[in-house]
Each structure stands twice: as C-alpha cells, then as structure tokens.
C-alpha cells in the first residue's frame, strides 16, 4: 500500500502529519462521495438544479421561444445562455450532478449488496442478556413445560417467516430470530432500477430519433431521412436504418365545439385520421385509424398525430392559358380559430411567382384587424393572398415551405397602384394583374401533423420503472425485525406437575421506524399462549 510508505526524508517539516498519498486521497474522496450525506446533498442539488428549466424556455422543448426571450432580454439572455440556462438538462452542471449521484449510487449499492448477501446466509444474532432493555417487549406466564412453550414459540416465529438461530449449549431457553430481509432486497432493487432507468434513458437518447412531417389528405408519405420536414437524431443513429414504412392519409376528421359558450366555443372535440399503411415498400396495405392518444407502430417506430390544419388546392395558368401546376399547400394555424398563413410558390412561371397570405376557415373582415377567422371549422372559408414576382429561391438556400423569402421578389400592385390582395372562395378563380395568368382555388383539404419517434430505451425505461416501484413498495412496507424469546422456568410452583408456571418474555428490535412493533410482539405472545393452551387440552 502506498500510504504506508515512510515519509520522504527530504521534507524537513517540523510538524509531521500523516500523509495520505494519491491512493489515500482517492480512497478518502470515494468514501465521501458514497456516503449517505453526500447522496442527500446531491439529491437536494438535483432538485434545485432542475428548477431553472421550468422558469426559462428550453431549446430542447421550444427553440423559437428561446430566441424570442433572448431578443426581448438581450443582456440577461446572453448571460443565461452562457451558463446553459436554456439547455438545463444537457448542461455540464446538471450532468455533473446526476453523474456524481450515479457514481455515489454504484458505490453505495455494491458494498451493501455484499453485506446483504452475507447477512442473508448468517445466523440471527444471540439474544441480549437483558431483554427488557429493548425498544419493545411483552411478557406472560403459561401453565406448561418450558419445552412446550419454546416449541410453540419456534412454530409461531417460523409461521411469521422469521429465521431462527441454531440452539446453543447453555442457551436452550431462548430463541433468537430475524426477519424482513426483503426490506434490504427491496432497497437494493430500487436503487439498482434507478440506475437502470438512467441507463435506458441514455440508450434512447443515443440511438433514438424524432421527426416531424405534415401530410395533406390524399398524399402518401414514405419514411426516409430526407423526406421529413425536421429530423433530430441521437449521436449514434444510422439514418439508413430508419424503418421505411409508408402512410397514405385517406381522411382526417376534425370536429370543433359549437354548443358551449365562452372559452370552450371552438375547442377541438374530435381529431382522427384514417390512413392506409404499409410496413415497407411492396408490403400488403392496411387501413388503420390514427388518433390522439392512439399512435401507430411500425417495428420500433411510432407515429403520433399531433397537429392539424388546412391545405389549399390551387392551380395556376400563365397568360397564354398554359398550366403552371396544381399545388396542395398547407397553411399553418396562427390562432385558435385557425387563422392560417402559408405560401404558394410557382417556380415554373417566367419570372417566378409567389403568393403569400392567409387562409381563413370562417372569414370575416374586421374594420381594424382586416381578415380574421371566427371559428376553426369550415363555415365560410376564404383565401386572402398577396402576389410577388422575382426569384423564389435566392442563392438556392433551403427555406421554409410555409413562408416566402421576398429578399429578391417584388410585390405586384394592381392597376390602380394599391397592393390590396386577392380574395378567393373555394371554386373561384381570379385573373392575376398585368396579364400574368389565372389562379384557381379548387379545393380545401386538411393536413395532419405527424410526429415520428424511434426510442429503443422506451420499453427498458418502462420495465425498470415498474421494478423500481416494486422495490420501493417492498422496502417501505417490509420491516426488518429481530425477535428474541426467553422462557424462565421457576421450578415446581405447585404440588401437581401439570401446574407449572413458565415465564415467557418476547422482545424486539427494528431497523428504522416501526410503529407496530409492540402490536406485533403482543400478537406473538397471544399466538404462543393459544398454541400452548390447545396443546394442553389435547
């Protein structure tokens, strides 16, 4: 051992302190880290450290809100960002706390498991000399031989699943028993499952992915990395291994509240998609219902229906009547009444054309706000658009399909010079100003927003949580108890041999808190007495 070496002579310190050495220090640190006190501190620290993530917006939950916050509070935002307050749950300090807690946990579990293993095969300890000193005890006198009472005590203890100590010479008049080892087993199972939960979450993070896509009624989606609107992958995900299912959105049924007044008017009531799916290209088709709280599963990948809205079907022809395309364009809802914005892009036009504006399921013109929607359902739909001309994709940069990048576009004015937009109802068509052609608003369909999730840690997390709960309940309900029984033989009290008065004393010890120990001992005495009495009457 390094820490037992002699102190080097070249240090002439007058005060000679015991030197710990590197190993000694490490061992000291390990002992500190794995102590209950440190575990407790880390637990409290974990609780405190989790709170900021509920106060400030988090990138992992809602990135636009983080940007908004930083724009509104530039100085505070910058400092918060520097210390990771917008990524609390992936910040180094949060990770430090739970990693230390995990290490502490391992350092705690391993030796405890060893101790418990040995305790389970060891004999219960001997009864102490003075039983009345123990936490709880009970006594009685029985008219029976000491051997009969001892036998009854052994049976009663055995029936309570306590383990008995072997009888020793000179201690024939006592029984030592111990039970409730399951408490410690439950404790270990609980703490180990805690680790298992954390490891399973990590597995899900490393090999899991989450993607989003919007599809309109009548469209088919094939699952591939490049086809999703957004795709977030864990560090060790192989994108070519994404399950290649396909999904055709046959119909999306949405209903809104029309009866109730107040805030409930217009609240969504039904939200359900009918889809035709295949597990992989060429596999047999299957019609299924995808709803809220009712996901679909393809292998280890689940599909959830989380959003909905309207998509317009429009077609555009040029000034000579040549078709430039038919477009199914999703519009994104901006408020509870589905005031929705979107962009129709016509790259085939010469020069390119782009329409930007709003779709309103229940259109009303407000004096100040302009076009608004009064109800989320399709009562009186209208499409209000402005027309732009120029380059749709400047520099070929990727851009959102829901907005128009107008950096290199110009808004087209009507002949009287105003920029007032085009208004169309389903089935209507309008001439574009300046003989640029025609826009036909053919139809309105719905779109569904799908979230697709692959999480290999999901089932392991579930299983370890259930085991964790079982361990917890076991450790909190089972009581670890030591029970000692001693009989005293006062000799022949009366003339008749049958009238012996044997003193019975039981006493108990518990680990932790056990408010029922006294009741347990009283019941034990009662059982023994009853057994002795029935034996007597036989």
């Amino acid at each position: 051992m390094t820490d037992t070496r002699k102190a080097p002579t070249r240090s002439p310190d007058p005060i000679i302190q015991p030197r710990l050495g590197v190993v000694g220090w490490l061992r000291w640190m390990w002992r500190q880290l794995t102590s209950m006190r440190t575990a407790l501190m880390l637990l409290m620290l974990l609780a405190v450290a989790a709170v900021p993530g509920s106060i400030w917006p988090q990138r992992s939950v809602d990135p636009p809100r983080v940007n908004q916050f930083v724009r509104d509070n530039p100085t505070l935002g910058e400092w918060l960002d520097r210390f990771g307050f917008f990524d609390v749950y992936s910040s180094p300090w949060f990770a430090a706390i739970y990693l230390l807690l995990m290490i502490s946990l391992i350092g705690c579990i391993v030796p405890r498991a060893g101790v418990h293993w040995r305790a389970m095969r060891a004999q219960p300890p001997r009864a102490p000399r003075n039983l009345t000193r123990l936490e709880s005890h009970a006594t009685t006198e029985l008219a029976a031989d000491p051997e009969v009472v001892l036998e009854a005590a052994r049976t009663a203890l055995g029936r309570r699943r306590l383990r008995l100590r072997r009888v020793e010479d000179g201690r024939e008049h006592e029984v030592a028993a111990e039970g409730g080892y399951l408490r410690e087993t439950g404790n270990l199972v609980f703490h180990i499952s805690l680790l298992a939960v954390i490891v399973s979450v990590a597995v899900g993070h490393l090999w899991g992915w989450r993607a989003e896509v919007i599809i309109s009624e009548g469209e088919t989606f094939i699952s591939q990395a490049g086809r999703y609107d957004t795709l977030q992958t864990g560090p060790w995900v192989d994108e070519s291994s994404i399950d290649p299912f396909s999904l055709h959105l046959d119909r999306l049924d949405v209903e809104f509240e029309t009866d109730a007044g107040g805030a409930q008017f217009g609240a969504p009531r039904l939200f359900e998609a009918t889809v035709t799916t295949t597990d992989e290209p060429g596999a047999p088709e299957e019609q299924q219902v995808l709803g809220v709280n009712n996901p679909l599963h393809f292998g280890g990948t689940s599909v959830f229906l989380l959003g909905n809205g309207y998509a317009t079907v429009t077609s555009v022809t040029d000034g000579d009547g040549n078709p430039l395309g038919t477009f199914t364009t999703p519009f994104l809802p901006q408020d509870d009444n589905y005031y929705s914005t979107g962009a129709i892009k016509v790259p085939a036009a010469e020069p390119q054309l782009g329409f930007y504006g709003a779709f309103l399921p229940t259109l009303r013109f407000d004096e100040t706000a302009g076009p608004v929607s009064d109800f989320p359902g399709l009562v009186d739909p209208g499409l209000v658009l402005g027309l732009f001309e120029g380059t749709l994709f400047p520099g070929g940069r990727p851009q959102s399909v829901y907005t128009l990048d107008t950096a290199e576009m110009e808004q087209i004015r009507t002949s009287d010079g105003t920029t007032s937009g085009l208004l169309l109802r389903p089935g209507e068509s309008t001439e574009l100003p300046g003989d640029r052609g025609t826009l036909v608003f053919e139809d309105v369909v719905r779109w569904g927003g799908l979230v697709v999730r692959h999480d290999p840690g999901r089932i392991p997390v579930l299983i370890s949580s259930i085991v964790l709960l079982g361990g917890l309940v076991t450790m909190l309900t089972v009581k670890r108890r030591r029970v000692f029984v001693r009989v005293t033989d006062p000799g022949e009290a009366g003339a008749e041999p049958g009238a012996r008065h044997t003193g019975l004393m039981v006493a108990g010890l518990t680990k932790g808190t056990d408010p029922n120990l006294q009741g347990y001992l009283d019941a034990l005495v009662e059982d023994i007495s009853a057994a002795v009495a029935t034996k007597d009457s036989e």
């Binding site: 407790l40 917006p57 636009p64 809100r65 109730a260 709280n293 996901p295 997390v461 949580s465 259930i466």
Partner: protein, 325 residues
C-alpha cells in the same frame, strides 16, 4: 352536452361542504382548547410536584406523573364532546364533497379531473376521505382542525379564483391514463397535505418544548416523537403513490405526445417534488441529520406541490400562451 342542472347541484354541494368544514373547524378548535387547558393543568400540576420531589436533579417527567398520582388527584380526562361533534361535521362534509365531485362528473359525463378547479375539488375530497377513515379507526380528533382548515381555504380559493364551467375535454386529455394518473396524483397530494400538516405540528411542538413554553393547543397533541413517527408513516404511503403518478404520467405523455419525458414545466416540477420527498426519506436515515432538519424537507416538498399547482399552472402556462401571439 353538459347538464347544467347537475353542474349547479355540484356547486351547491361544494358550498355546503365549505359551511360544514368551517363549522367542524370551530368544533375542533373547541376540542383543542378544552383538551389543551386540561393537559396543561395536568402538566403544571406535574411540574409543581416535580418541583417538590426533585431536589436538585430533574426527574424524568414520565415518572413524576406517577408521583403526582399519589400526592394530588389528577384532574379527570377532558371532555371529548367538541371533538366528536367536529368529526361528525367532517363526515358530513366528506359526503358533501364526494357528492359535489360525483355530480360534477355526471354533469359532463367524464371523470372530473380536467382542470384546476376539478383537481382542487378531488384533492380536497381525498383529504377529507383519508382523514375521516383514519379518525374513525384511531383517535385523531386533535388533527381535525389542521385538516379542515386547509381544506376550507383551498375550496374557497378554488371557488373564487379557479372556477371553470363544466365542459368536455380537449381530445388530448381523453385517455384512461388521464384518469389513472390524475386520480393517483390527487390521492397522493391529499396524503402529502396531511403529512405536511403533521410535519408542521411536530416542528411547532418540538420548538415549543425546546423553549419550555408549550401553549395549550400544542399540549393537546401527541408527544413529539409520536408525531414525528406518524408524519413519516404518512409519507411512506404517499411517496410510492407519487412515484406511480410520475410513471403513469410518462406513459400517458408517451401516448399523447410521442415522448415519455420532455422536461416541460409540469414534468420538471413533478420530478422536483419526487426528488425532494426522496431526500426527506433519505435524510431521516442519514446519521448527522436530526429528525427536525429532515422534517423541514417534507415541508419543502409540500411547498413544491403548492408551487406546482399554483405558479406552474397559471404563470408558466400563461407565459407560454403569450409567446404564441
């Protein structure tokens, strides 16, 4: 879709409950006053005796009661009449609130667990049910005031500031896991509420004893070590239930949103509460931590529940919806 008559009947039942719990509070307060004065008379008699018998070293108070019996006749045990009236009123209030919750559920044709108002109603219903069941089996008259008081306050707050018209649920809330998750959550909140009340009583009595001045209402309670044990006993029932709440919530989140855990404010606080109560249970088993210090952690846990319910539900969510504009 919602039945207005039943909804109104539910409102009336809740108002009636509040009247009953207020009356029960008064009766329980009377009980504490009577018992407290008697207990103080007995202990001050004890103290006098102790003064006479113990020359120099103070005898343990347990043994001096025995001495007292030989010297002065002990006053008769205090009347329990007020406490029993309080308990009877509480039982009526419990039925009232169970009816209020049931009528609310019938009026909307679903489990009444859809908004803050209903959540508060059900949590207080469980608090009354747990207390009543407990008090029918053990002598818990001394606890009555400290259960009916928070129940009355929470019901008043629910009526005045969180009242929501009876209505149907958003589709995302329409799940069996909502019922499982929220029912168990409210039950554990009820147990934690009573646990917190006991923790505070223990702390108050412990401090008063340390100072040497125990006011009557505290003298009427059980001894500190027994209070502490009851506090712990309640928490070890509530903690696994809260653990289950956490797991059930994650299962539901997985089905509804496609992820079992997303660190949204509600989830963060459910987790924080869990960790704080785990710390309480740990602290109790940690050498170097006194029961008093550990019990403060239980109080902190209850504080987190209050924050989770008030601040997180109103402020954080409100913030969220502002940003959408």
């Amino acid at each position: 879709m919602t039945n207005q008559t039943l909804a109104q009947a539910s409102d009336i039942a809740v108002w009636a409950t509040m009247v009953l719990t207020t009356l029960a509070m008064l009766a329980f307060a009377g009980h504490l006053a009577v018992t407290g004065t008697r207990t103080r008379e007995r202990t001050s008699a004890t103290a006098r005796t102790e003064h006479r018998t113990a020359a120099g070293s103070a005898a343990p108070s347990g043994s001096s009661v025995a001495v007292l019996a030989t010297e002065e006749p002990a006053p008769p045990p205090p009347s329990r009449r007020w406490g029993v009236i309080g308990l009877q009123l509480t039982l009526l209030a419990t039925f009232g609130l169970v009816a209020g919750v049931a009528l609310r559920g019938l009026s909307v044709g679903r489990a009444p667990l859809g908004n803050m108002y209903e959540f508060a109603l059900v949590a207080m219903m469980f608090t009354l049910v747990v207390y009543s069941a407990w008090a029918l089996r053990r002598d818990r008259l001394w606890l009555g005031l400290f259960v009916t008081l928070p129940v009355t306050l929470v019901l008043a707050a629910a009526k005045l500031s969180w009242y929501t018209e009876a209505s149907q649920l958003m589709p995302s809330l329409n799940s069996i896991w909502l019922v499982i998750h929220v029912t168990v959550a409210t039950l554990s909140v009820a147990l934690f509420t009573i646990g917190c009340v006991l923790a505070l009583l223990y702390l108050a009595k412990d401090r008063a004893e340390a100072k040497g001045q125990v006011p009557g209402w505290l003298a009427a309670l059980p001894g500190t070590s027994s209070l502490e044990r009851i506090t712990y006993g309640l928490h070890i029932v509530a903690f696994p239930l809260w653990t289950f709440t956490l797991i059930a919530g994650a299962i539901w989140a997985e089905q509804a949103w496609g992820r079992y855990w997303g660190w949204d404010p509600k989830e963060v606080w459910t987790f924080v509460i869990w960790v704080v109560y785990a710390a309480y249970l740990h602290a109790r088993a940690t050498s170097g931590w006194t029961a008093r210090k550990a019990t403060w952690l239980a109080v902190a846990g209850a504080g987190c529940i209050v924050i989770n319910y008030t601040v997180v539900n109103t402020f954080f969510v409100g913030w969220h919806s502002y940003s959408g504009i």
